[in-house]
């Protein structure tokens, strides 16, 4: 009874107005709710309540079998990401969820709290949870086993006051120092002067208290799911034709697309592994031009790639693996993108590129771009990702549409050239460059016309005086 009175006093000291709502199914009534029940008869108007910027839900698992296994964390975090995008792991055994944005969807904080609690049931038998405006406060409350829901940051001090200091999980040295001072509860610590606490324990302890009481921001590292799609399929009989593989691939791709959709993610790389009886498996890797989760597009690219494939042996089973999951752009999530298909060229061009590449090979499809360089053969490049905005100024000297891969020897001297009936129509344009890298050229370029009307781009090598064909004006 004495402790209760003390608690009441602390609550009075730190909590000014509003109420701490106990959850309906709370097993034991926390002592601090005594203050609540006294004031609870006249709840303040909702407009008077300061709105917290964040609301953190903390859950502490006490009997998970293999908590250190990363797979377990993956499963729990995925489970939690149904409620909020911001999930944070607190080692060794707690999870923190920022749930402010989801409250409206679930109606009330209490309903949301209960819904999240229910989500742990398949995974853990003993889970203690609490909700508070700061992550540390929620964590401390959950560790203390107080299933409460504090929404108002002003009530934090009162809510935390009754907690034993052990639930801060500070190091043993600090806790022993505090015990020797006769301080066992958070409320008693809060009443001590800050400078003294900082000196006797550490500035870190004061910072923790400030973070817990929302006097200082407490950033948390968010959990990022690092996972891939992986599903295998075994055939009852050995498959020898690609056509059947394509058919069998459909459900796998369907699953993969659903998997991606649930995570609001897409892939850019897919791998299909075909298992054979005696020889090593065949790996089919396809790259996509953009990040996608569209099953039709995935199917299309894989099908095109498979038509090109020659099976080395009969296939016993296959496995579809996705590459790293990547966040989808807002365009790909657009529900009406299909309806506007005809108007959106930007979306269709990457699809065309990946279709062509899937069948013809990655190097057979490319873009071209000029390079600011005097030597004609060095003044252009192949571009693997066409359409990425290459803007280079080019000169205004005549250049042919077609460039020969290597200059073709036409004649040893000017006399031989005139025998061939070539008329030099325009020129010369002298190009001397490249002495610094060993590929130097000394050439006089001309636009020439052959007797039949074709226009050629020829040059005379100034050292050997011989004539070469280098391009065709078409």
């Amino acid at each position: 009874m004495k402790a209760r009175a003390a608690d009441l006093k602390t609550a009075d000291l730190f909590a000014d107005q509003g109420n701490v709502a106990p959850l309906p199914s709370a097993v034991k009534t926390p002592p601090l709710t005594a203050a609540v029940s006294l004031r609870g008869s006249a709840p303040p108007l909702p407009t008077e309540r300061p709105r917290p910027k964040q609301l953190w839900y903390a859950v502490v698992f006490s009997d998970l079998p293999d908590l250190d296994a990363s797979a377990m964390w993956q499963r729990l975090c995925l489970c939690a990401s149904r409620f909020t995008p911001l999930v944070s792991i607190e080692m060794p055994n707690a999870l923190l969820l920022e749930i402010k944005g989801s409250v409206h969807l679930f109606g009330s904080v209490e309903a949301l709290h209960a819904a999240i609690d229910a989500a742990w049931r398949p995974h853990a038998r003993k889970a203690q949870s609490a909700t508070a405006p700061t992550p540390l406060a929620a964590l401390w409350l959950a560790r203390a086993g107080q299933r409460v829901c504090i929404e108002d940051p002003h009530l934090l001090a009162g809510g935390l006051a009754g907690l034993p200091l052990a639930c801060t999980c500070w190091n043993l040295e600090w806790l022993q120092t505090l015990r020797s001072m006769g301080v066992t509860r958070v409320g008693e610590l809060l009443r001590l002067p800050r400078a003294g606490v900082a000196r006797r324990l550490s500035p870190g302890a004061v910072r923790d208290l400030d973070m817990a009481l929302a006097r200082q921001p407490a950033p948390r590292r968010a959990f990022i799911p690092r996972e891939r799609f992986r599903q295998s399929l075994d055939f009852e009989t050995e498959v020898e034709t690609v056509v059947y593989l394509q058919k069998a691939l459909e459900p796998l791709i369907e699953h993969c697309a659903r998997f991606l959709l649930r995570r609001q993610a897409g892939v850019q790389v897919l791998e299909l592994r075909l298992r054979h009886r005696l020889i090593a498996m065949t790996r089919v890797r396809v790259g996509l031009a953009g990040i996608t989760s569209d099953p039709r597009r995935l199917q299309d690219v894989l099908t095109q790639r498979l038509t090109r494939l020659e099976l080395p042996a009969a296939v016993r089973g296959m496995e579809l693996r996705s590459g790293t999951l990547l966040p989808l752009s807002s365009d790909s999530l657009d529900a009406f993108a299909g309806a506007r298909r005809n108007g959106r060229l930007g979306d269709m061009a990457p699809q065309l590129v990946e279709r062509l590449r899937a069948r013809l090979g990655s190097k057979a499809v490319y873009g071209i771009a000029p390079i600011p360089e005097h030597r004609p053969e060095c003044a252009w490049q192949r571009v693997h990702e066409p359409g990425r905005g290459y803007n280079v100024q080019v000169g205004d000297m005549p250049r042919p549409v077609w460039l020969l891969e290597a200059p073709l020897l036409l004649a040893a001297d000017a006399e031989q050239l005139s025998h061939q009936g070539l008329i030099l129509a325009q020129g010369p344009e002298r190009i001397e460059s490249g002495w610094w890298d060993g590929l130097d050229v000394m050439r006089d370029y001309y636009r020439a016309r052959d007797p039949h009307g074709a226009q050629w781009w020829v040059f005379q090598e100034r050292r050997t005086r011989s004539w070469y064909l280098h391009g065709v004006f078409a």
Binding site: G346, R355, A379
Partner: protein
């Protein structure tokens, strides 16, 4: 009992989709046309230019006779896409490397040009059909050695459905084979005796127009 069929009226016959009206086609083409840059050639083509959603075949005696120049105005026009989106153009199996500085000089936006190098003629035709069907391309240029009329028919259908211009370049030995192209053009070497040394231009087939040689020299 045998019933005499009613003779259909002229209007009914004309309404039949299988009946193709020659005169109407030449008078009002349903789609815009793109100029060829040659006045004499424009005058001979229905509507005054290359038809947009169809197959144009150019039979070449040799490369370098100005065949790209004939399509340059069309290529520039097709990149003036509506509502800010620039359509793509695809060059499939060109005889040499398309030289980027020259194309930039001519005003072509290289960010919207795709070069495809397929391993075989079938793959080239497949790639052309994919490009036409994708809806992202306004022009597809295809250089081909062989001939397969069934494939060419597919290309024509794809071009018509996609609303794109498909230009097929083939050697002139295919001149006497039948082709579904709406325009067939023969670019030949000029005679050695000819003083100007200009290439010759002949319309082998024009749907809605009159075939025959076109005067090259005085029309630029």
């Amino acid at each position: 009992m045998w019933m005499p069929r009613e003779t259909p009226s002229l209007a009914e016959i004309l309404a039949d989709a299988r009946v193709w009206k020659l005169k109407d086609a030449s008078a009002t083409p349903s789609r815009p046309v793109w100029s060829t840059g040659l006045r004499a050639l424009d005058a001979r083509l229905p509507g005054g230019g290359w038809p947009t959603a169809s197959l144009v075949e150019v039979l070449l005696e040799t490369t370098g006779l100005g065949e790209i120049q004939l399509f340059l105005p069309a290529l520039l026009a097709c990149q003036q896409g509506a509502d800010g989106e620039i359509p793509w153009m695809v060059w499939i199996a060109p005889p040499y490397e398309p030289y980027a500085p020259a194309l930039v000089q001519q005003g072509i936006d290289l960010n919207r040009l795709l070069v495809v190098r397929p391993a075989s003629a079938t793959e080239a035709l497949w790639a052309a059909e994919q490009a036409l069907n994708s809806g992202a391309c306004a022009a597809v240029m295809l250089w081909l050695q062989g001939s397969d009329e069934r494939w060419l028919r597919r290309l024509k259908l794809a071009a018509e459905a996609g609303g794109a211009l498909c230009v097929l370049f083939r050697p002139d030995r295919h001149r006497f084979e039948s082709s579904p192209a709406s325009v067939r053009l023969l670019l030949g070497r000029g005679e050695r005796a000819h003083a100007a040394g200009e290439p010759t231009l002949e319309l082998v087939k024009v749907q809605g127009g009159r075939p025959g040689p076109v005067e090259f020299s005085d029309s630029r």
